[in-house]
């Protein structure tokens, strides 16, 4: 195979067809090979062809499959690894990232204790206050790309560290992909909720957006977090996305920041 891909080569795995037609105006739409391979891998991930924690085919495998050089596959995987979708382990292989791994657990939880690091307080105590089916209000529906009135699951829980309640969260999930989720299931599962979502519902959280505000604790919040009314709390509204930027979870959290702080590292 020459340096310049030969358009006449057949059986070329559908790739390499960037802007062949060269018709009239515009439509350059140049898309590098590695981007196309990235797209293919992304599709396989989305289709759960390779599951979180499993290894994907080796670089040489994929290179053969796509009829490209290893370096090209490598660049595609590099980008996916940089986006935390894949995890490379030298000598072993490339693996689909998962929230179940010890190291990257609570990847989206930025609250850390004033002294010590996360985990130094021991495991969090998790109390499910509520778990019920409901109809999506307009704002919930909008956040989750649903229609108003669609069925959603609503979960309310409190996380405590060392016996002190620190986080109160209301979580909304579209009912369809999470069919069968119950309070029991949540309460009995060890490990992060997002790990449960992966193993039980084939939903992997890939990205999240948070809007953070300072608010005064209202009645329920004050009660559940055991603080006085009007205590300042951090309000954290999170929308989490799966592959392809589909919103799949809305979470409204209230954090006590008298013993913890929200940490944001910016590069």
């Amino acid at each position: 195979m020459q340096n310049t891909p030969d358009p006449n080569t057949e059986n070329d795995m559908v790739l390499r067809e960037t802007s062949t037609t060269a018709s009239a105006v515009n439509t350059p739409a140049f898309s590098p090979l590695y981007q196309q391979i990235k797209g293919f891998i992304l599709n396989s991930l989305r289709a759960s062809e390779w599951k979180p924690g499993e290894a994907i085919p080796s670089e040489t495998d994929l290179a053969l499959r796509f009829q490209v050089s290893q370096g090209t596959v490598r660049k595609a995987i590099d980008e996916l690894a940089a986006e935390n979708l894949l995890l490379r382990r030298q000598g072993k292989g490339t693996f689909v990232a998962t929230h179940a791994e010890q190291q990257v657990q609570f990847r989206f939880l930025r609250l850390v204790p004033d002294s010590g690091t996360r985990g130094s307080e021991g495991p969090a105590q998790r109390d499910i206050i509520e778990c019920r089916r409901a109809r999506a209000s307009a704002d919930i529906a909008k956040a989750l790309s649903l229609r108003s009135g669609d069925t959603v699951l609503q979960v309310r829980r409190v996380l405590s560290f060392g016996g002190t309640p620190v986080i109160l969260e209301d979580i909304w999930l579209p009912a369809v992909p999470f069919k069968g989720l119950t309070a029991d299931r949540l309460a009995n599962y060890q490990g992060p909720m997002y790990a449960l979502f992966e193993t039980e519902f084939n939903v992997r959280m890939v990205r999240a957006d948070e809007k953070i505000r300072a608010v005064a604790a209202m009645g329920i919040q004050a009660t559940l977090l055991k603080v006085k009314r009007n205590t300042p709390l951090l309000s954290v509204e999170r929308i989490a996305y799966t592959y392809q930027n589909e919103p799949i979870e809305l979470r409204r959290g209230y954090y006590r920041t008298d013993t913890h702080y929200y940490h944001n590292a910016m590069n």
Copy 2:
């Protein structure tokens, strides 16, 4: 030049000397070539050999200089670009990142208005309330890696959007690198403060850590931000770092979050 670097080759720019001695035990300390090149570039940046906004030598230049292939230089630059230290522009060159660029302005300010995007409210109004020399207290000194009692500059300012005060900030800077900084200089400068630091004091902010809490507005804060006492405010403590992870600024901000929110995008 063969594929395997020949240790006998002379005049090799000090590079390529990873673990030649191969003495007794351990000390593998394998360091890839591209890491060494990355280190060299980092040193040049630190030494202000190439200034923010300027182009660094081309990839082919650097490859010749280090006697390595272009791909190796490329990988070094790739990583630095991913860390936002360099900025690649196809057809033009690779540039030292700067806070003066329109696109990446306010890279560390995560507060955005509830409606519209940042900047949609027009430029911020900046009022310098105070700018004075002081002695570093224990906690300030610790944050800036100084000794208690060392001279620091303290700046207090208010940022307003559409006439409403939204941000109150206290800023501490070590006096030495910022010699000559005055309230006038700050007040008259157009553009982000970090851009001023680059051009006037050769200090480039490269990374920052923020600790975020919800607090109740105290007297001074309430007055300057024109809110009632005890209004919940976002407390944002930032430590900004230059190259080599030297802390160079401590900033304690109080943000009103009734019309704005702190945005955190997590990958």
